[in-house]
Amino acid sequence: MLYLQILANGLVLGGLYACIASGFSLVWGVLNVINILHGSFIVLGGYLAYFAYVNAGIHPFLSILIAIPAFFAIGYALQRLMINRIIAAPVLLTLTLTFGLDLMLSNGMILAFTADFRKLVLEPPLGTLAFGAVVLPIDRLAAMLLALALTGMLYLILSRSRIGRAIVAVRMDREAAALMGVDVKRIYAATFGLGAMMAGASGPLLVMIFPISPLGGPAYLGKAFVICVLGGLGSVPGAMIGGLVLGVVESFGSLWFGPEHAITLSFSLLILMLLFRPHGLLGRKGYE
């Protein structure tokens, strides 16, 4: 029975992780930009939901609907106005730029929201579901569903829509796509917008689960790294699988080796993957 509960814990934790990582993976895979801002976007999405709930009583699920267009717009503008200028430069430069922007954003949030930890306490709480002796919290299930829904939506956009096909084309061969008449800069901006949107949309869910502070971003970012390497860069289903695998591994690792080694275990996994399967579980070899 304990094992079933641990497995269930791992799967719902994995759903959260998939939420955290999918946008990060998309941006890294398509744009070859390591978006250090991603964690802080999640935190900002969390603050949006927190203040909407505390001041106006807006349920965090509704805040997700507000966050989706807002963060898409922020991401689109950021790529269009700043990151596109150095997109052709070596990866370290874009990393430095997003790192700098992240410093500004997190310090801005300290000024605006103070460094105190806050958590959105729903009244009444969403509660839990019990299947026999296995108990599952509904907010984590919702996060898992959101991750699935967003992943599915992204998958549809990428495989069916015109702009999605263009994103994939740019990812495969930038020059060839440009020669075919694809407006590469616009596609980049749309991709970054989608990545920011995924981060912003997961914030309202995470603030129901984790206490947030303006400096909480790097913790999410660290997880996103591991998940991307696990699942394969740029592969949206890969982020889902990577998240679930990491969640389950951490849960059982914590059971067998003690909770203090859960983080060690996830980074050991990262190193092993890089050594033996650098393209990830679902990534294609030689894509990067």
Partner: protein, 398 residues
């Protein structure tokens, strides 16, 4: 041209001389704090406490040093929640900023790390947030601490639980793997075993843990009567939330150190009900003292007037560190470091913080830390008897 330069040099010399003269009338106290980084909420509390003391001391004309009065100035340095940098910050404060005295960086770990620097330069240093015995076991002569050892928290707590909750036999302990949270968890284990309680689970989680579900499932499978968890505000908000996620109930749930903070109560909402904790001080205590604040009541009033909130023990301790330093300087009648050090070592005074007397290792020995329980969103003191506000209530559920 040449004249102008001369004039400039003369002006500069004048400014420096004036600065030096002013510096002599000011007592500078260095305070390395984690102003940015994950510990920044703690740094803010320390700053509020120190600032309130400095303001009170200066408003009364300054600290009496022999026949004259000297103003006090606190020099803050941010060490970005990074302990090695805290040590560098302490050294910089002493060697470059020429502070007269030092307040330790935050928490047991950083206070211990920085204490070797103040010992090397023989700078009297007061630690406002270091309780673990390991901080004071180095034979240092210049380090003094305002928190009693960790067992002064776990012992009265265990006494109360054993006395009032007869069915409590099985204890589960989950500790953050950092100096203070782990040390107090180990004290709890000793206190429990001493009373014949069965410790059925004892594990550590690492700093930065985002999920406690597995540990909690294991705890639940042991069906403990008393769950004792340690950590800081964010850890313990998450832990309490995840206990509810798995429908874990227990007659007694104790968390140290967060429940004394309003942020923890706000972040857990109704789940805070009946969680017990202990701290070194509580605004409900009533002491009359010879320090600059005069009494606990007056201190709490001054704090509320400045910040619009009740002080918690971390804020109170920071103010106490200042008030104690002031008492020592006034007693020594000098700001000579060795004299102030001797005055601290010999101190036996009442303050708003309680009686202040340090053991041979520098740690305070004279406090009686209160035990409290969150009842209806408010910390309610259940021990010691003299300031009791309510009885221990059993049953923490979801």
């Amino acid at each position: 041209m040449r004249n102008k330069r001369l004039l400039g040099a003369a002006l500069l010399a004048g400014v420096i001389a004036a600065g030096a003269a002013a510096a002599q009338d000011v007592i500078r106290v260095g305070a390395p704090l984690p102003i940015t980084g994950p510990l920044s909420p703690e740094a803010k509390k320390q700053q509020r406490g120190y600032d309130l003391w400095a303001e009170a001391a200066n408003r009364s004309g300054g600290i009496k040093v022999g026949s004259k009065r000297m103003k006090v100035e606190i020099v803050y340095v941010d060490y970005q929640s990074n302990t090695p940098r805290a040590v560098q910050a302490a050294e910089k404060l002493i060697t470059q900023d020429k502070v007269n005295f030092l307040f330790s960086p935050f928490g047991s770990g950083a206070a211990k790390a920085a204490s070797s620097v103040s010992e090397k330069y023989q700078v009297p240093t007061i630690a406002a947030t270091a309780s673990s015995a390991q901080v004071y076991d180095q034979g240092y002569k210049y380090l003094f601490g305002t928190f009693t050892p960790n067992d002064t928290l776990t012992e009265p707590l265990s006494d109360i639980v054993v006395r009032e909750a007869a069915g409590v036999k099985r204890v589960a302990i989950l500790a953050r793997n950092a100096l203070f949270p782990l040390a107090i968890a180990q004290e709890m284990e000793k206190s429990a075993k001493k009373r014949g309680l069965n410790v059925v689970y004892f594990e550590k989680y690492s700093i930065g843990t985002l999920d406690h579900a597995s540990a909690l499932s294991q705890i639940k499978s042991q069906s403990p009567h008393w769950i004792f968890a340690t950590g800081y505000t964010n850890d313990l908000i998450l832990l309490r939330k995840q206990m509810a996620d798995q429908r874990i109930d227990a007659p007694v749930v104790t968390m140290i150190a967060a429940p004394a903070y309003q942020e923890w109560i706000d972040g857990t909402g109704k789940l805070s009900q009946n969680v017990t904790s202990a701290a070194w001080w509580h605004p409900a205590v009533r002491y009359k003292g010879k320090d600059v604040f005069g009494s606990t009541e007056a201190y709490v009033k001054a704090f509320q007037a400045k910040y619009g909130a009740l002080p918690d023990y971390a804020e109170g301790s920071a103010s106490a560190a200042g008030a104690i330093l002031q008492l020592a300087i006034e007693k020594a009648g000098s700001i000579e470091r060795t004299k102030v050090r001797d005055a601290l070592a010999a101190m036996n005074e009442m303050t708003f913080w309680g009686r202040v007397q340090f053991g041979a290792n520098g740690q305070i020995t004279s406090l009686e830390p209160p035990v409290f329980q969150i009842q209806k969103g408010k910390p309610t003191v259940i021990h010691p008897k003299s300031i009791r506000q309510g009885e221990l209530q059993l049953g923490v559920s979801n």
